[in-house]
Amino acid sequence: MVNVMDIPEEEYIFPGTRACAGCAMALIYRIALKALGPNTIVTVPASCLTVLHGMQGFCTTKISVYHTPFATTAASASGILASLEDKGLADEITVLAFAGDGGTVDIGIQALSGAAERDTNFIYACYDNEAYMNTGVQRSGSTPLGVQTTTTPEGKSVHKKNMPKILEAHGIPYVATANAAYPLDLYEKFKRAKDIKGPKYIHILSPCPPGWGYNPKDTMLIGRLANETGFWPLYEVLDGKFELSNSSKRYLDSSKRKPITDYLKAQKRFKSIDEKIAKTYEKYIDNTWKEIKSRLESR
């Protein structure tokens, strides 16, 4: 496990960005760039990260960035990589695709699946704030059950898509889940991904103060609750081998998990859920962990 002093002090994002106060994505991006270092090219679709990067003329990062239309994140990464290969620079430069959940699980899934199938040597990071936040909190395929968004005023009626599992099904060498509230774990995962050849997929839970309805100071607290209740387990699948991350190991024991209602009640977006949905969540979490157990046992 890395220590805080192992993380490079060098910052790749200048302060004074347009990201909201308490934005988890800003922290995720900051830590990811520290792990990947200066020889990185980033490609980004329409998303809150486009906002963070700044407007015409002036950007906030010390790393080159290409903004690409919504559906094309992974395709653009393929293009950058193909050009680097054409120039013989592919071994020197890391290509990072960094998209939100809408850009990944919805409109970008086809291009991502294609790039994964083609064994594209890149890192795809999805920061999952569980709705279309940049356009005003509309539901996405990654919005959890019961969440109120501007297009699900009654609460979403179905669970979120399990994107890491979909990427696993592509047989790529590295799939991991992460969480903004665990920056050291996040750093390690990006560091690991950097040294692996082929497509790498990291799916990061990214609490969003205005979209989720909580005080900005509580971003990490909310993120931790997602782990502590067993809702968002942290794990890695390296060459098909499943490994539970340290921060989530203790929740194999269901008695160590906090009640899911602790997580749900802390956020305004869940305010319309009833007992029935809370029960559904308990079952959902039980099933998630049953599967984790069986994967660990079958190794």
Binding site: Y66, T68, A75, G79, I93, G114
Partner: protein, 430 residues
């Protein structure tokens, strides 16, 4: 019938019997493209099959990203272009439409991408045969659009296209179109030029954007506001200034396109009119046929017949469709009496695109020529010499009677063969 490479090269070292698609592929090989990305679609597919073959045989050192859609293909090329590579692709009809979102992205970024379009009609209903509707639908996205009439022209135009696209005064994507099947799958002799001469004509790309040079940090394509932004660190144009620059680059590209064409003609001894249009037997003609691609080639035959019947008819085959060479067309048509336009497309809800655009371009001439437009050959319906001839006589008759209309006039329709067809009763019959 397809010839093997061996048979092709046996004919002559430099002259090969090639389909239009393969002529385009050879041009890509000799232009030494760095990144190709494409998705199969009829009738374009043989272009990229041939490119894949060149790469497999080591004749072309390009990266071929075999994507899962045309939308991704153009996204790959835009990204590869901003990373500094020479890039190109080929597509048709639905493939082009699926790419649509990425087309203004390419021009807005000022990316010198070359796209071959083997034209094909748009569904519904499904059709794989040619017309120019796909080509027409991209007229407002800021691309340079060229049309070819034979396979040699496809090869030559592709080589010129890279040079035009990459000219530092232009920096814009170029579409080279040719009729699906009519040229894409028809073999004819094509002279391939010596590599060293092509290298001299087309030096390596010197791109204005190059992400692969990580010594300079660049952000590309951020949100760009209606305002000019000023800070201590500098001043940045607003969206309006970028669009002004794009439009001016297009307007000013016409002379450079001619220049590149003339340079090519001087080096390789082949020319296509003035590079923006081809005028055939127009000097003494009072009536001019106006068309593009397969329509123009078919009209060449019609001219001979009409002249034999005593009519002074000539042909203008438009090569450069965007930017629209309005001034050049005005100059050319200012003393002509009649223009008869044959469109293999429709500006749906109005009339044939070539027809209404020409009418607009000639507005304000002191003596305006008579103009009538016809629709021909949609969805691969044969454009026959007799259709053109019928059209000419009909138009001349209408001009004499003073009939001028924007209502479309279709040639080669076969409504009479449908007898009492009626969709409502169709399923009840038989």
């Amino acid at each position: 019938m397809t010839l093997t490479e061996k048979e092709e090269s046996a004919i002559n070292d430099n002259i090969m019997i090639l389909t239009g698609n393969h002529a385009a592929a050879h041009a890509f090989r000799q232009a030494k493209v760095g990144v190709v990305s494409a998705y199969p679609i009829t009738p374009q597919s043989p272009v990229v099959e041939k490119i894949a073959e060149f790469i497999a045989e080591g004749k072309l050192k390009a990266r071929f990203v075999k994507v899962e859609s045309e939308h991704s293909a153009m996204a790959v090329l835009c990204a590869a272009s901003v990373t500094g590579s020479r890039v190109g692709t080929a597509t048709s009809a639905h493939g082009l439409e699926l790419m649509y979102e990425m087309l203004p992205w390419a021009s807005g970024n000022r990316l010198p991408i070359v796209l071959n379009l083997a034209t094909r009609s748009l569904g519904a209903p499904w059709s794989v045969w040619t017309d120019h509707q796909d080509f027409i639908t991209i007229r407002d996205v800021g691309w340079i659009q060229l049309f070819c009439e034979n396979n040699q022209e496809i090869y030559d135009t592709n080589l010129q296209a890279f040079k035009i696209a990459e000219d530092s005064r232009i920096l814009l994507p170029v579409a080279c179109a040719y009729d699906g099947y009519v040229l894409s799958h028809t073999a004819m002799p094509v002279k391939l030029e010596i590599q060293e001469l092509i290298d001299k004509f087309l030096p390596p790309l010197n791109h204005h954007i190059n992400l692969s040079d990580i010594s300079t940090v660049k952000g590309i394509d951020p949100v760009t506001t209606p305002q000019v932004v000023k800070r201590d660190e500098g001043v940045a144009p607003g969206y309006y200034e970028y669009r002004y620059a794009l439009q001016k680059a297009l307007e000013n590209s016409i002379n450079i396109i001619k220049e590149v064409h003339d340079d090519f003609a001087k080096k390789f001894g082949r020319s296509y009119g003035n590079g923006i249009y081809k005028a055939i037997q127009t000097d003494d003609a009072d009536t001019i046929i106006f068309g593009m691609g397969s329509v123009a080639s078919q009209s060449r035959v019609a001219i001979e017949k009409l002249r034999a019947e005593g009519l002074k008819v000539g042909l203008m085959s438009l090569k450069l469709f965007r930017p629209y060479p309005a001034e050049e067309l005005r100059e050319f048509f200012k003393d002509k009496e009649n223009i008869i336009v044959f469109d293999r497309d429709i500006g749906y809800g109005y009339e044939g695109t070539l027809s209404y655009e020409l009418k607009a371009a000639l507005y304000g001439l002191k003596s305006r020529p008579n103009i009538k437009g016809f629709i021909v050959g949609l969805g691969g319906r044969d454009v026959k010499t007799e259709h053109i001839i019928t059209g000419i006589y009909k138009a001349l008759d209408e001009f004499k009677k003073g009939i001028f209309t924007n209502k479309t006039d279709f040639l080669g329709l076969r409504l009479e063969e449908l007898e009492d067809y009626d969709e409502e009763t169709y399923f009840k019959g038989g």
